[in-house]
């Protein structure tokens, strides 16, 4: 039996190191198998108490990474650690005790035949925390923490609005006082006025409880508002990673620059941006040679088409582009 590495309190709370995840998928009716490269050598760390943003388009690997960080799947290569100890070696329940998910769609993430009090109380029961009366008290506290009235405890999810359901999902995630929330598009199913309420709630919870978060979103204005650090995923690679303000104010990777330019805030009378971005889409079953972004990059050269760029430190952040300076 291999020795279990000791927990390291100085290590980042959750860390992915050179994580690769492939899926074998069937490409047609005749059972041809192909390899889908969801993640290819990704580094990401969530320090204690930090809010880390993860942005990228659909198919870039955001949700795969969130499942790996939750310990729901194991990487094909590389490793995910909790305080320096591989998550794969930690019993499932101990991981769940410290890392909890908040999913995108509160309509499908809550069991419709359970009352709210039972939904929120289940993690307490599973982890054997407290007895009946103390759990009931804790459920009331949690409802109060997420801004729901106590009478909601007896309601079924169907009686709640989308915003109220997402508050229930957040209360459930917080029930066992985890150290990290993995929030996968927590507001994209909600209207803007409700989105603002949930974002405010997450900001308040962070101040009050110090919980760390991975905040996954396709909405860059929201990520810019919510996070300290941000990682930009493109086709399974982190192409730029650093302090949020620096990455968004002066992007070094052409893809980050295009993402930033495509944010349509209601302030600007500038009209629509002319994105320096091609419309050729890469196939994750057959990622392009060289730099994975080159088919869409207007600055691509022969070097980009043949040689994959190494991740370098540029202007205080990690960038994966031959030409970033």
């Amino acid at each position: 039996m291999t020795a279990i590495p000791q927990t390291d309190r100085t290590a980042p709370l959750v860390e992915a190191t050179a994580v690769t995840r492939h899926y074998r998928v069937s490409t047609g009716a005749f059972g041809h198998k192909a390899t889908l490269h969801a993640l290819s050598g990704v580094d990401l760390s969530i320090p204690r108490g930090a809010v880390v943003g993860l942005v990228g388009e659909s198919g870039s690997g955001k949700s795969t990474l969130s499942r790996l960080l939750l310990g729901l799947e194991t990487p094909t290569a590389g490793r995910v650690t909790l305080e320096g100890r591989p998550i794969a070696e930690i019993p499932r329940k101990q991981v769940a005790r410290r890392i909890q998910p908040v999913f995108q769609d509160p309509y499908s993430s809550l069991n419709p035949s359970w009352r709210v009090a039972d939904l929120i109380g289940l993690p307490l029961a599973v982890h054997g925390i407290g007895d009946g009366p103390s759990r009931a008290r804790r459920v009331r506290e949690l409802l109060d923490l997420v801004g729901l009235p106590g009478r909601v405890a007896d309601a079924y999810p169907a009686a709640l609005s989308g915003g109220q359901r997402q508050r229930v999902a957040i209360a459930r995630a917080l029930a066992i006082e985890p150290e990290v929330l993995i929030c996968d598009e927590p507001t994209s199913a909600l209207d803007v006025s409700v989105q603002a309420q949930i974002l405010n709630l997450l900001l308040d919870l962070r101040r009050e409880t110090g919980v760390a978060m991975l905040f996954i979103s396709h909405d860059l204005a929201v990520v810019e508002h919510m996070t300290d650090r941000v990682a930009v995923l493109y086709l399974g690679r982190v192409v730029e990673q650093g302090a949020t303000a620096e990455v968004f104010n002066a992007p070094k990777h052409p893809y980050t620059a295009a993402l930033k330019a495509s944010v349509l805030t209601p302030d600007d009378a500038a009209g629509l941006p002319d994105l320096a971005l091609g419309t050729v889409f890469p196939n994750p079953l057959d990622p392009p040679a060289g730099c994975r972004f080159h088919p869409r990059c207007l600055r691509a050269t022969d070097r980009c088409r043949t040689e994959a760029p190494a991740t370098r430190d540029v202007a205080g952040r990690r960038v994966e582009c031959h030409w970033a300076e």
Binding site: E57, N200, H225, P266, L272, D274, T279, F281
Partner: protein, 330 residues
């Protein structure tokens, strides 16, 4: 500008088990040639029902009533020559949110494009195919002749939406109604599709009615905007005026709720609109927004305000509108 399409006193009532739901309650809209009108609002405000009733595509449970409905200067009859059913796909075209469900998965996209054209024009297949190829190229699809032989599932979401736009353009319509055309797409693709719509509009001089929940999209593409809440237009006017100096508390609330770099500091609490949308089943008395409104006064419970002009060009339906000189960024 003479109106290309104008509709007055549009109401839509949907039959539900709990009683009639008043989804649209007395809406007036007009859009001119070459003009972009954005209908903006949150889920359930009636914006999609408004769009569907303009296209005569309401579900069977919904009933529409209209004061006056004109298109290209003529009254639109309920059926027959000149009705929406006859104009649809020809003079008016619609682009839906999810192109995967709007395109028929069992036909090649070429056949679908050609069918649209030949339904309205007595034209040989070759002419229709040439037009399809030209339009696919115009909307930024390379290898158009090969793409014609593909099925919708063989394309990405962005490409399918480009196909939908090409299909809408087949008969060179006077008006396009687009219901959340970019909501299902990634942000970079969204910007490119909106840009394409704007460019095509400049080329063909079409009117465009764009339905969206995204005020950022409105500010970048709209000439005029109508903000909807609970089946009513609560504020309307030139986009720059309405978004720059909102007078309805709801419009202001929406703008304050969106994180905006430069307006909100990172990590700062965002503005919220407390409460939820009222039920539109049965009747609504007074202003439907009053329970969520910070500026409500006793008169709001009894008066259902009509749109009235403010600032010359804009109109607001509010008993106690936001003062014109109020601090916006607060």
């Amino acid at each position: 500008m003479t109106d290309l399409l104008s509709i007055s006193d549009l109401s839509v009532t949907v039959r539900t088990p709990a009683g009639p739901l008043h989804a649209v309650r007395g809406v007036d809209l007009a859009v001119g040639r070459g003009e972009t009108l954005c209908l903006v609002g949150e889920s359930g405000c009636g914006k999609s029902m408004t769009a569907l009733s303009l296209m005569d595509l309401l579900p069977g449970t919904a009933r529409r009533s209209v004061g006056r409905f004109t298109f290209a200067g003529r009254d639109v009859p309920a059926r027959g020559h000149g009705s929406i059913a006859a104009l649809r796909g020809d003079r008016l075209a619609m682009i839906f949110q999810e192109p995967m469900t709007a395109l028929n998965p069992t036909f090649r996209i070429g056949d679908q494009l050609i069918a649209v054209y030949r339904t309205h024009r007595r034209a040989p297949v070759a002419e229709a195919r040439d037009r399809a190829v030209a339009l696919l190229e115009r909307v930024g699809i390379s290898n158009a002749a090969i793409r014609l032989r593909q099925y919708p599932h063989e394309m990405s979401g962005g490409l399918r939406q480009r196909v939908m736009i090409a299909m809408a353009l087949m008969c060179q319509p006077d008006l396009i109604i687009a219901d959340e055309p970019t909501t299902a797409l990634d942000v970079t693709i969204q910007a490119q599709i909106l840009k394409l719509l704007k460019d095509l509009q400049a080329d063909f001089g079409m009117g465009l009615v764009l339905i969206t929940h995204d005020l950022g999209v409105v500010s970048r593409i709209a000439d005029r905007v109508a903000v909807m809440y609970a089946g009513r237009v609560v504020e309307a006017g030139p986009a720059a005026t309405v978004l720059g100096r909102p007078r309805h508390p709801y419009t202001q609330g929406l703008l304050d709720a969106v994180p905006r770099p430069g307006v909100h500091r990172p990590g700062e609490r965002l503005g919220t609109i407390p409460g939820t949308v009222p039920s539109l089943i049965g009747g609504v008395t007074g202003c439907a927004f009053r329970d969520r409104c910070r500026r409500s006064v006793p008169a709001c419970a009894t008066t259902d305000p009509a749109l009235a002009a403010v600032d010359g060009s804009a109109a607001v339906a509010c008993v106690n509108p936001v003062p014109a000189d109020a601090e916006r960024a607060a």
